[in-house]
Amino acid sequence: MIYLQLFISYLKIGFFGFGGGYAMLSLIQNEIVVQNGWLTNAEFADIVAISQMTPGPIAINSATYVGYSVAGFWGSVVATISVCMPALTIMTLITRFFLLLKDNHIFKGIISGMRPIVIGMIVSAALLLLFPSTQEGASFIDAWSWGLFLGACYLSYRKVNPIMLIVLSALAGIAIYYLPTLIA
């Protein structure tokens, strides 16, 4: 039952998506690529790229995209709704019990305890794309890939807009991988 699987996977992603955007990538990657094999690593990287160029959070974007590619229109509806449900319930509770939580030490302890985990999760998402277990669907295919990667590391360190970087890298990709085939 594909709808049920999508529902459970994205409910988990929504419920444990601490640390926002990039930290959720690790969770999405684990559910979608590692556990269920709905996408390859490269397809996953493609969604991240698409997500950078379109409005909205990556969690929603990936839910809609994966849902559609696995089970069509209703798949995208199911995945998108299930990824939102935890945020809706938990934030409603937090808003209601705001004053109780605001200065609670245990709550703060829980949040600080999760902080290093979230950082590790972001790094793991990158590691999986850098060094995938199989070469099929790899994001790094040659020396150009590493050159682009290092260049982008430097440029984002210099605070260049991520959307700009994605657009530039698409143009670079066309120049490196497409134009030579025209000449040959």
Binding site: G14, G17, G20, Y22, L27, N30, E31, V34, A45, D46, V48, A49, I50, Q52, T54, P55, G56, N61, T64, Y65, S69, S76, C84, P86, A87, M91, T92, T95, K102, H105, I106, G109, I110, I111, S112, M114, R115, P116, I117, I119, G120, S124, A125, A126, L129, F140, S145, W146, F149, L150, A152, C153, S156, P162, I166, L168, A170, I174, Y177, Y178
Partner: protein, 180 residues
């Protein structure tokens, strides 16, 4: 009905114009919700924002829920949430429908080959800022977590739970906040 529609369209606008997600959305939400509409006080917004950042799920979703809930209860939360997700849902749906048709195109394929390594760089970029001021033990924990998820394919969920329990126990034992 009109107030729910107002909430819906305000957050629809927010959802439509926030690229890259996350923190980039906050100033836009702030302008719409506090400056334009006066729906919520600045101080209250900032306090709730701190909690929205510690709650699971995307910041924009959480912010939509708390503003909507604060104003008109559960139905308000639902209207704001629907508003903020609908633009990305519709856009990605169109992308998903057409992407499969142009995916095999040589130019598109070349463009994505260029984009993939850059995506990895973008994921890694905020790490330096996050680790700033963090104790070395916490950085080691982060490194171990990254290795374990990457190498063994363990679900990050277990590690998050372990971190939450560890943090709570630490505070209970020491009676104060964890050193950052």
């Amino acid at each position: 009905m009109r107030r729910f529609a107002e909430l819906f369209f305000s957050f629809f606008k927010i959802g439509l114009f926030t690229f890259g997600g996350g923190y980039a959305m906050i100033p836009i939400i702030q302008r719409e919700v506090i400056d334009n509409r006066h729906w919520i006080e600045q101080q209250e917004f900032l306090d709730l924002l701190t909690l929205a950042q510690s709650a699971p799920g995307p910041i924009s979703l959480n912010t939509a829920v708390f503003v909507g809930y604060k104003m008109y209860g559960y139905r308000g939360a639902l209207s704001a949430l629907l508003g903020v997700i609908l633009p990305s849902f519709l856009i990605i749906l169109v992308v998903a429908i057409f992407f499969s048709q142009i995916r095999e195109n040589a130019i598109v394929d070349a463009a994505f080959k260029g984009m993939r390594p850059v995506v990895v760089a973008l994921i890694l970029a905020p790490i330096l800022g996050f680790t700033k001021g963090l104790h070395w033990t916490m950085i080691s924990v982060a490194a171990v977590v990254a290795f374990v998820i990457w190498h063994f394919g363990i679900s990050p969920i277990y590690l998050l739970l372990a971190g939450a329990v560890g943090g709570a126990l630490w505070v209970a034992a020491r009676g104060k906040e964890v050193k950052r």
